[in-house]
């Protein structure tokens, strides 16, 4: 009978460096991004899959939107660029309206497909400075599906799921481990890795109060990617064996890609026939942000050698202490040109996202700053493209610039290996979206 030795729980030999998703960071669709993300009540295209699923039931046309965007975080510690990767990729959305009796409904799907990594998981030394908001957060794909219904004229309800996958796997070796000469070891390996589906819900409601005023509320649930990996080696040690049926195992359970739950209330007011003003206020529950650390469990039984092995019990890391935040967004859209065959919209928006991260005074260096984002964009609407495209085709372009307010972090310990530092940066973003109706 093997005897299991006390297991050492090692917290965070490494730390996850990614939080939330690329759409939270950069938005979805050129129109909404140009309007500062104030889209909960103003959205009328497939980006409703993210901003407010209820709005999918608003339209009566089949919609297909496709776009491409590029964002390059230019982030600095003490004036030196940290070389953060760009985020770029394709976004696509689908809206399929339908009717069952008197009930109008719509099915929607949206996908963000980065063209560098479908999903990047990364763990770094716990104390390594990193910009948590942009470092790895944006390097993942996103697939969201939703169903919306019209409850009564002017009142819509929508909900759906966003899908991700996570890995869980074991690597097992079994055989004889030679102490003197590794070449004499005889081990058979077995690898068992699963790619598991994970999902989290979102929902929304939209009320067209009047022809000119819409109000909406949306909710996106929290998400944490859990990575579970185990390595175990079983067998005799030495030849002839000095340990029979010994084993060593290590299991790492890490969290990554945390996304807080978010509740957004928004309004859209058509001030004049040509001018739309939208406002959103989002509450983001960052205080649930878990310690960005891997839990590593070590287990072993090496018989007579057990007494020679001493594993120090590591100190647990403190909670990161993030705080909840409120994010206001405002956007405007002005129909600058409205002709028989062509229309032109000018858009602008602003959002302010306070940092949920506290001052990094201790061992962690989860740098983040308050973020001011200015969005600008134009939309060209081609109204008559003949039989091929009988309904208007919109081509939207956007540019946004996020400015990270410089923030200094003073360490309490003068021996801190990182020392004091100042974090700052900008994040320019460009994109193009083609919205088509059929």
């Amino acid at each position: 009978m093997r005897r299991a030795l006390p297991t050492a729980i090692v917290l965070a030999l490494c730390a996850a460096d990614a939080r939330a998703n690329p759409i939270d960071a950069f938005g979805l669709g050129s129109r909404a991004i140009a309007m500062g993300g104030a889209a909960t009540a103003a959205v009328d295209d497939t980006s409703a899959n993210y901003y407010n699923p209820a709005a999918l039931a608003r339209g009566r046309d089949l919609r297909i939107d496709i776009g491409y965007r590029w964002a390059q975080p230019l982030l600095q510690f003490n004036g030196g660029d940290v070389g953060t990767n760009a985020t770029r990729g394709v976004s696509a959305g689908l809206l399929l309206p339908g009717r069952i009796g008197a009930v109008r409904f719509a099915f929607g799907a949206a996908v963000w497909l980065p063209d560098q990594w479908l999903l990047r998981q990364r763990w770094m030394a716990y104390g390594q400075p990193r910009f948590i908001y942009y470092d790895n957060r944006t390097q993942r794909m996103l697939l969201s599906t939703n169903l919306a219904v019209q409850l009564v004229p002017g009142l819509y309800l929508g909900a759906g799921l966003t899908f991700m996958s996570r890995t869980a796997g074991d690597v097992n070796l079994k055989g004889v481990v030679s102490l003197g000469n590794p070449d004499d070891s005889s081990l058979v390996s077995k690898i068992d890795v699963d790619l598991l589906a994970v999902r989290y819900p979102q929902a929304g409601i939209l009320w067209e109060v009047t022809k000119y005023l819409s109000l909406g509320v949306s909710y996106r649930h929290s998400f944490t990617l859990v990575i579970d990996q185990q390595f175990r080696i079983d067998g005799d040690v030495g030849s002839p064996p000095i340990v029979h049926n010994g084993y060593f195992s290590t299991r790492s359970v890490a969290t990554d890609l945390f996304q807080p739950w978010q509740l957004t209330a928004g309004g859209a007011l058509r001030v004049t026939r040509a001018l739309l003003v939208a406002f959103d206020l989002t509450f983001a529950r960052w205080s649930e942000f878990p310690a960005p650390a891997a839990t590593v469990t070590l287990g072993y039984d090496v018989g007579v050698l057990n007494s020679k092995i001493h594993l120090a019990a590591p100190a647990p890391y403190a909670a990161p202490g993030f705080r909840d935040i409120a994010i206001p967004r405002v956007g405007v859209e002005w129909r600058a040109l409205d002709r028989e065959r062509i229309g032109l919209d000018a858009r602008g928006g602003y959002s302010y996202e306070p940092s949920p991260a506290p001052d990094q005074i201790g061992e962690s260096n989860l740098a983040d700053c308050d973020k001011h984002t200015l969005g600008l964009g134009v939309g060209l609407e081609l109204k008559r493209l003949g039989r091929v495209m009988p309904k208007p085709l919109a081509i939207d372009a956007h540019f946004s610039l996020t400015v990270l307010s410089p923030r200094a972090h003073h360490k309490l310990d003068p021996l801190d290996p990182v020392g004091d530092y100042r974090a700052s940066g900008i994040v320019p973003q460009l994109g193009l979206t083609v919205r088509s109706r059929f």
């Binding site: 089949l62 990767n85 390594q128 790895n136 390097q139 003068p414 290996p417 100042r422």
Partner: protein
């Protein structure tokens, strides 16, 4: 038509590549804190035999005191001469380019110096100041340019005969406001005293105030009493620099006598210059032996100059973060 449109859209979406490049975000990370350093590795761009940046075929070198100004570095060292030590200076336009020849800076020509001057600690200014160890006391020399030095006939600071013992070791000087603060080795620990800077500028005898490393106790305490991995402390090196947050961070490097008779390098830091947190591990690996660590910010990297063994001679080496 709808079918064609849908097919086109999904074909476009699925056709994008997945050719990611290296995961970035780890360049220019801040690292101006405590921790460990390692001798730097050889680099083809360097004109010297890494990690040794300065050596003499016929003399041992000791007690480096580097000052960086942009890409240039000046370094003062103690050079072993028959019968004692003298202080010399070498300059480098860039570290990779290496140091030029050593030029004499200060020699032991006063009786109280007992034939040896060493442990230079240079403070740029008007005038430049150099504090040094000689004859169990600390001397102070001045210079208009850091090259030619003159000194008064008497030592600037002598041991108090009490806790410090009867003899003072090497000094490390920094400017704190209107005062010159000196950390110095005595009785196996690091102590501190300060005097008005104006006294040195006016070439009059400094009015010293001895500082207490722990005011909560009735007796005067050293600034750094010891480290877990070794015994007596010697040859401190001090810096006081503002951090990006506006705080002043004081750092102390020092030699540590090891149980095997060799020496190692220790480190301590503080935000008030009096109450120091002592790093529990050596600043440099304990083997091979090192001594007299001196931290300097060179560009965006912290470097440690130290004394190591190069063949049959003690020479000046450089370490960086691993």
């Amino acid at each position: 038509m709808r079918r064609a449109a849908i097919s086109f859209a999904f074909a476009l979406a699925a056709g994008c590549g997945t050719t990611g490049d290296y995961a970035g975000g780890a360049a220019n990370l801040p690292d101006w804190g405590g921790g460990t350093f390692a001798p730097i590795a050889a680099d083809p761009a360097q004109s010297w035999n890494a990690p040794f940046v300065l050596q003499q075929a016929s003399a041992d070198l000791a007690d480096p005191d580097p000052i960086a100004s942009g890409a240039a570095i000046s370094i003062w060292v103690a050079v072993a001469r028959p019968g004692g030590f003298a202080i010399a200076r070498a300059d480098a336009e860039t570290l990779d380019g290496g140091f030029g020849a050593l030029a004499p800076a200060l020699s032991a020509d006063a009786a109280w110096e007992q034939g040896a001057v060493r442990g230079p600690s240079v403070v740029p200014g008007a005038p430049w100041l150099m504090l040094y160890a000689a004859g169990g006391a600390i001397g102070a020399a001045t210079s208009p340019d850091g090259a030619a030095w003159s000194k008064p006939p008497a030592p600037a600071l002598t041991a108090d005969g009490g806790d410090e013992g009867a003899s003072l070791g090497a000094p490390a000087a920094i400017v704190v406001g209107e005062k010159l603060r000196v950390y110095y080795a005595a009785a196996g620990a690091i102590w501190a005293a300060e005097a008005p800077l104006a006294d040195f500028q006016a070439a009059r005898a400094p009015a010293w105030t001895r500082l207490d490393g722990d005011p909560s106790t009735p007796a005067r305490d050293p600034i750094v009493r010891g480290v877990p991995f070794g015994g007596a402390l010697d040859r401190p090196f001090a810096r006081a620099e503002p951090t990006v947050t506006g705080a002043i961070r004081y750092t102390l490097g020092f030699s540590v006598a090891l149980p095997d008779g060799t020496s190692g390098s220790g480190f301590a830091a503080s935000f008030d210059g009096i109450s120091f947190a002592v790093q529990q591990t050596p600043l440099l690996p304990l083997a091979p032996a090192s001594a007299a660590p001196a931290l300097v910010r060179y560009g965006d990297r912290p470097l440690v100059f130290y004394v190591g063994r190069f063949g049959a001679r003690d020479a000046i080496a450089v370490a960086a973060r691993p």
